[in-house]
């Protein structure tokens, strides 16, 4: 692993002036710190993905199958027919450059091939050379080039420097979405077994155990039980979550990161407190599932088919348990998949006809906007409860926090979840300041580790990609004294603590329901001395 330069050094090195030579003549240089290790063949084999083998991106020989070009060309041909997005986006880009400086990886690295337009051109140039008349006739003159091993390596390197955050597509006059191109590109290289391990192994885990981290049911149970211990210590009340309970009203699915790693775990404790409160006060019947114990979907970073296979568990489990509808926890790409793909991918096959349009039994609110998918976001649920005055919240327990809000890329640009979390924030925290326009809402920046790029070995890339977000946080930190960065995404909660430590060490990261869990007063609880992190509450420090 490479050593990470100091922040000032890294910042000073950023150079946005491209090299003199034509980009096609600049050979790919796979730099340590900016690439992820190759997929473990066992993981690929477990889910039946092709051409599993041991290989190393730094090696000259990638041990490609004999007919690799044919595989790629057939793959492109098939996808041009199946995805209008791919075909149209291959054809209509005018290279106006509006997207060029919108990518966090470009802003932070200066590598011109991280300009979304050029990332797409890497594939487009081959498409032109093989699939268009002009390209075939005129070659490089028409912006076309043949597919070589060099080109393939370049694809691989830059397809795993895109976090599929869609920020470029907001600015593109034709809505060309680099995420869509990256998704296709990753599908293509997956046909040759060229996945990265930080994606492939979670996929295999999720397939087998139901979650990315490979947590088996008993361990999943133990981890939640452990949170319940903590909650009991803090509040004097022990939540009693239900697992795989048939006949429950609601299934709850969250990213397994929340069960596994700080600070997601505090968010998970927040969910537990919320559901316990609602059970005691209103008799809400929610169950967790160990089989569908993952909302996130690294299959989405592999191929549409893999996404479908992993996602199918949610509807299958909902049908088996006979729940009426589903609540999804705080996660980013999970919600891209749930909001825009799940109902199409698996609804017709696996959604039980016994499911109903989500209706909050406590407030009577019918979530008509989720009428078909029958799954709502937990912030939609909580915001509705707060609006109807169903939660007893004590903001003062979050008094030490001055919060700013990181709109996660997928919930922003693949869903439009902006006001729900902010409404909740206003009821659980006193001090809240948004970051400047251009860095939030639909123009929000990726944390730098989305789409499977949170591997330890590509930390430098992640720090570069995290710069735009960190810079905006730094601004509100210095100007307004913000000390906490909130988000609704498990990858954010995994990535941003590192990014903050690197760029803005004074700011820490939390999930929204951690703050809800802190503020929510459970009937009969003891006076809390500490927050969910075990830190002294404001005013209780000296005891």
């Amino acid at each position: 692993m490479s050593t990470l330069p100091r922040p000032e050094e890294l910042y000073a090195k950023i150079n946005h002036t491209p090299p003199k030579a034509d980009w096609m003549d600049v050979p790919v240089d796979i730099k340590p710190g900016r690439y992820c290790y190759a997929a473990n063949p066992d993981s690929l084999n477990y889910v039946g993905l092709p051409h599993a083998r041991k290989w190393n991106p730094l090696d000259e020989d990638w041990k490609l199958p004999e007919n690799w070009k044919e595989i790629i060309f057939n793959g492109i041909r098939e996808r041009l027919d199946k995805y209008r997005s791919f075909k149209v986006f291959m054809d209509i880009c005018v290279r106006c450059g509006a997207c060029a400086d919108k990518c966090h990886f470009f802003i932070g690295s200066g590598d011109p091939k991280n300009m979304p337009v050029l990332r797409a051109e890497l594939i487009r140039s081959v498409y032109r050379g093989e699939f268009t008349t002009f390209g075939k006739l005129l070659g490089k003159f028409a912006g076309a080039r043949p597919l070589t091993e060099e080109v393939l390596k370049e694809w691989w390197y830059y397809l795993f420097q895109c976090s599929e955050c869609r920020r470029c597509s907001v600015f593109c006059p034709y809505g060309i979405d680099t995420a869509e191109i990256t998704i296709m590109g990753r599908e293509l290289i997956n046909l040759l077994g060229l996945n990265i391990d930080w994606i492939a192994t979670p996929v295999a885990n999720c397939y087998r155990t139901g979650n990315h981290l490979g947590i088996q049911p008993h361990a999943f149970f133990d981890m939640i039980d452990f949170f319940c211990d903590d909650i009991e210590d803090i509040t004097g009340i022990r939540p009693e979550p239900q697992f795989n309970k048939k006949g429950a009203d609601i299934l709850f699915v969250t990213p397994s990161g929340d069960v596994f790693a700080d600070p997601g775990t505090y968010t998970c404790m927040g969910y537990l407190i919320l559901f316990e409160y609602l059970k005691r006060e209103y008799g809400l019947d929610v169950t967790w599932s160990t089989y569908a114990s993952e909302g996130g979907n690294f299959g989405f970073f592999t191929s549409h088919e893999t996404m479908k296979r992993l996602n199918s568990k949610i509807y299958m489990e909902a049908a088996r348990l006979g729940v009426k509808w589903i609540i999804g926890g705080e996660c980013g790409h999970m919600w891209r998949v749930l909001h825009q793909y799940m109902d199409t991918l698996n609804g017709p096959e696996f959604q039980s006809s016994n499911m109903t349009v989500p209706k909050n039994p406590i407030t009577g609110t019918v979530f008509q906007h989720a009428a078909s998918t029958k799954m709502i976001h937990i912030t939609e649920f909580t915001a509705d409860l707060i609006k109807h005055g169903k939660l007893n919240l004590d903001k003062s327990r979050n008094a030490g926090i001055h919060l700013t809000w990181h709109d996660s890329c997928n919930t922003s640009r693949g869903m439009g979840l902006f006001e729900e979390p902010r409404y909740i924030i206003r009821h659980v925290v006193d001090k809240f300041t948004d970051m400047p326009p251009g860095t939030i809402r639909e123009e929000t920046f990726c944390c730098g580790g989305g789409a499977g790029l949170n591997a330890g070995e590509c930390e430098e890339l992640r720090m570069m990609g995290g710069l735009p977000r960190a810079s905006a946080v730094k601004y509100v930190h210095e100007k307004y004294g913000v000390n906490m960065l909130g988000c609704v995404c498990a990858i954010d909660r995994a990535v941003l603590p590192g990014t903050m430590k690197y760029w803005v060490p004074e700011v820490t990261v939390c999930g929204l329901h951690e703050l809800v869990g802190n503020a929510l007063v459970i009937p009969g609880e003891k006076e809390r001395e500490v927050n969910l992190r075990g830190e002294d509450l404001p005013g209780k420090e000296d005891e």
Partner: protein
């Protein structure tokens, strides 16, 4: 270099017309056959390309949401940026096509030495693009005076508004100025801004030069060379009524203009200029964002998909589940 190639190419095309229609006297070829062929290629080619796109499926509902979603009734939805109705989608598309909504968002990050990144508003590209496309549209419509008799009131109206400053005679069209300025801007940013130069290709410069050539040759023959406009109209009317006869003595510059237009028409369906049709088919813009409300149906099926069923899962972990009191389907 790429810009120079393109420039030479346009010069060569102009030279072909000059030699062909001028020196070789092939007025019929350059005045009638090629333009007609070009118009046919344009219309048929354009439709063919769009139909090809249309044949590709739209398997998923993947709009880019650029505003608050429809969710709880008391949360104000952004009905155009994140539409959940057909009206909303239509309005979104209209804003995109007519006003270049997305381009209007453009901003530019600047890295300061204090370690801050700031985002400055950057609307020049939006303005330049809007100026270019609208002046092109007006110029296109204005040219209908050569293809209609009597000239409809709308066209005459455009004509008189465009020349309302009454500068010189023949009166100066304002769109001519805007057009040349906009094309020049679009070209200059490609050579001056390093990153834009880096991404620009021959096929980006060529249409710019071609269009600039069309504009300049048009301006030259209106304001300076003054071709016989009545003879031009006789030719153009003949062209569209299929009574093809090539009038004499129009002046070679007219054929340069017409030939470059013909080249543009033929080049159009083969090139990125197809963004004109493509923007309407972009799934990130033209789809209803309420994807949890209405099920989008994928017309094709995934074949031979393997799932890891609950039964397989329980079979593997049954003992461990029972140990923790997690309910199972089949007891141990």
């Amino acid at each position: 270099m790429k810009a120079l190639y393109s420039l030479f190419l346009v010069f060569a095309l102009a030279a072909i017309a000059l030699v062909g229609a001028g020196a070789l006297g092939m007025e019929r070829t350059f005045g009638l056959y090629i333009p007609f062929l070009a118009a046919a290629v344009f219309v048929v080619g354009f439709c063919w390309r769009v139909v090809q796109w249309g044949k590709s499926a739209v398997p998923f509902c993947i709009p880019t949401t650029c505003g608050q979603q429809e969710s709880l009734p008391w949360i104000k939805q952004s009905t155009i940026e994140n539409p959940s109705t057909t009206t909303g989608v239509v309005l979104r598309m209209l804003l995109e096509v007519l006003l270049f909504r997305s381009l209007f968002r453009n901003n530019q990050p600047q890295l300061y030495s204090d370690g801050r990144v700031r985002y400055a508003s950057s609307k020049w590209l939006w303005l330049g693009a809007l100026a270019f496309h609208y002046s092109f549209l007006i110029i296109f419509l204005r040219h209908m005076r050569f293809f209609t008799e009597p000239v409809p009131a709308l066209i005459r109206g455009i004509e008189s508004v465009d020349s309302m400053l009454q500068i010189a005679a023949p009166t100066l069209y304002l769109t001519d100025l805007v057009f040349i300025a906009a094309v020049t801007y679009l070209f200059l940013r490609r050579v001056v801004v390093p990153n834009i130069r880096y991404i620009s290709q021959v096929q980006d410069y060529f249409p710019l030069f071609l269009i600039l050539g069309i504009g300049l040759s048009g301006i030259f023959m209106r304001y300076f060379a003054k071709v016989d406009i009545m003879a031009v109209k006789e030719l153009t009317m003949g062209l569209v009524t299929f009574s093809w006869k090539a009038p004499q003595g129009i002046g070679a510059i007219f054929y340069v203009h017409l030939f470059l237009v013909s080249v543009l028409l033929i080049y159009f369906p083969l090139s990125k200029l197809m963004h004109m049709g493509g923007v309407f088919l972009s799934p990130t813009r033209n789809m209803n964002c309420a994807s949890r409300k209405f099920r989008h149906i994928n017309p094709w099926k995934f074949e031979n998909v393997h799932y890891h069923t609950y039964e397989e899962y329980e079979d593997e972990f049954r003992e461990k589940m029972v140990e923790k009191g997690i309910p199972v389907e089949k007891p141990l």
